[in-house]
């Protein structure tokens, strides 16, 4: 595997630099849409690893300033949590 040498941007969903660059080349330059198409930032870490790199990639490829690139919405819960903690089974009666 070391010969292939992928550059992983999103670890949670295995998204590479190439895939993100290809999408930007097609004209998709906002994180929210990239997120919907490639699922970056939608894994257990909620974008903590990939989003800063994606901002840099968009800035480099489009010439936009990083402060013109909108962060995707942060939604709750901001940490991974088993669903059973939030919604347990109720008694039947």
């Amino acid at each position: 595997m070391s010969e292939k040498g992928e550059k992983i941007i999103c670890r949670c969903n295995d998204v590479t630099l190439e895939e993100i660059e290809a999408l930007i080349d097609q004209g998709v330059t906002d994180i929210e849409t990239i997120k919907r198409l490639l699922r970056v930032g939608m894994g257990p870490c909620q974008g903590r690893t990939c989003i800063p790199m994606i901002i840099s990639i968009i800035a480099r490829k489009t010439g936009k300033k990083p402060d013109e690139i909108k962060l995707p919405t942060t939604r709750i819960p901001v940490r991974p949590v088993p669903a059973g903690v939030l919604v347990g089974e109720m008694d039947e009666e």
Partner: protein, 477 residues
């Protein structure tokens, strides 16, 4: 491998009773007080999962519960953050290989009413900023509760073996680990309720009232109701794109410090450090203290970013610092065996033919930090991109109150700086939060002013210039 001798640290102190955990069915000896990830690493397990789509091996990365790299199946439950989950006798641990499923045979748990805690000030994060916020809010008359998702207080102080700069009242000459102990003692003296191993999942508002919903030990829901909240959630290590940047052995600098300085686990034998800022330089020295060889430090900038004293120390150890160099590729089967670096020209392009190979088993990334603002962003605080402060940060006033009334910020989550400034910001935010909660007298305004002056003095040096530029963009009033 566990470290037993260290010039500064004594690990026997933190290693509790011996317990047995099971990795893929095989017994492993561990100690109470260790996290699962640390115990596995000490036993030679460096691959914690295979990624869900491409089945690539993954190991640690941040080691403070923020990335997803160490998620494993623990006692049948997938996606457990093993870097912040403590070992327990008989624990069954498995690598995740595909999209994890919840066990089909297990019944859903019964709904349990959450534990409900009420306070004037809720502090999220028990690092230098959070601890100082809690101490000062308490002194100002507030009932304070503090939560942190790590098993111990201190944040990143618990891994800092070097002595601090500054003034005597800012702990100059004291090692970070000692400062963490002092602040913990201070917290104990006050009536601050502390919840460890408790992650904040969301920050909600009902009128003026704030609600922090947390989960304790990944099992129990806890609700923290407060009049005001201080968010001191720190930062996360940055990753950079290079070939095989996800191979086990590529770790954040902080993760390496967690391994060797907090838990006494040897990270590897030969290390390449990427980044010659203060973090990279200090890490090089700490690795040397732990008996690990640092082959080189590479830095993409034409100049070393860190303080001269740190760079001089590293140079004296004979560690080469290669400026205008970058990492191209990590190589190895299942784990890092080599690092390929190359020189950069003035336009940041790789100069062909300058490739160098380092036979290393660890690549340490010290390429900067990014403020952890998720809770602040989620609750609706206004944010702004400020490169001088490490990325997106929240707009706030000189008392560290954000654009959402009653929500304060302090430390690295307010902008990347250092522990000394984090402590001062924590003090300001803690008192500010007590004032807005309506429990502190106006005399405390003086204490805020004092801390503001101390901050000003600390930032007046050449290294504060960048931070001051950044602060101009986000501090209103």
């Amino acid at each position: 491998m566990r470290l037993s001798e260290h010039p500064i640290l004594n690990f026997e102190r933190i290693r509790g009773k011996e317990v047995t955990i099971y990795f893929e069915g095989k017994p492993i000896k561990a100690h109470e007080g260790e996290t699962i990830a640390m115990a596995l690493y000490a036993a030679g397990v460096k691959t914690f999962q295979h990624s869900i789509e491409k089945h690539r091996p993954r190991g640690l990365f941040c080691a403070i519960g923020k990335c997803s790299s160490c998620l494993m199946k623990v006692n049948g439950i997938p996606n457990v953050r093993t870097c912040i989950t403590l070992v327990e006798e008989g624990m069954q641990i498995e690598r995740q290989k595909e999209k994890p499923m919840l066990p089909k045979t297990m019944k859903p748990p019964k709904w349990k009413e959450p534990q409900r805690i009420e306070a004037d000030v809720v502090v999220i994060g028990g690092g230098p900023a959070g601890m100082m916020a809690a101490i000062n809010a308490s002194d100002a008359g507030a009932k304070v509760v503090l939560l942190d998702e790590n098993p111990m207080l201190g944040g990143q102080l618990v891994k800092q073996t070097h002595k601090f700069f500054g003034k005597r009242e800012q702990f100059a000459g004291v090692r970070g680990i000692k400062i963490a102990e002092i602040l913990q003692e201070e917290l104990k003296k006050r009536n601050v309720e502390i919840f460890l191993e408790t992650s904040a999942l969301m920050l909600l508002q009902n009128g003026e009232e704030k609600l922090v919903v947390g989960v304790k030990k990944n099992k129990e829901l806890v609700e923290f109701k407060g009049k005001t909240v201080v968010v001191a959630t720190g930062a996360m290590e940055r990753m950079i794109p290079f070939e095989n940047n996800d191979l086990p052995g590529v770790y954040g600098a902080g993760a390496i410090q967690t391994l060797m300085n907090t838990y006494g686990v040897k990270p590897g034998d030969r290390v390449l450090i990427v980044g010659a800022g203060n973090v990279g330089l200090i890490l090089a020295y700490q690795l040397y203290q732990a008996g690990v060889k640092v082959e080189a430090i590479v830095e993409a900038m034409p100049k070393i970013g860190g303080y001269f004293v740190h760079a001089a120390k590293v140079r004296r150890l004979g560690i080469p610092i290669l400026t205008r160099h970058t990492i191209l590729r990590a190589e190895g089967n299942e784990k890092v065996e080599r690092a390929i670096v190359a020189q950069l020209d003035e336009k940041w392009n790789v100069i062909p033919g300058t490739e160098k190979v380092f036979d290393v088993d660890v690549i340490a990334l010290a390429v900067g930090l990014r403020p952890s603002i998720e809770l602040l962003h989620q609750v609706g605080c206004q944010i702004k991109y400020v490169p001088e402060l490490g990325g997106h940060v929240v707009i706030r006033d000189s008392r560290m109150e954000t654009t959402v009334k009653g929500i304060f910020v302090a430390g690295d989550s307010a902008g990347i700086e250092e522990a000394t400034t984090a402590m001062l910001e924590g003090k300001i935010a803690g008192i500010g939060a007590a004032l807005i909660a309506g429990v502190a007298s106006s005399e405390w305004l003086k204490k805020i002013e004092e801390a503001q002056k101390e901050l000003e003095v600390f930032r007046s040096g050449p290294f504060g210039r960048k931070v001051l530029e950044g602060l101009k963009k986000v501090v209103v009033k």
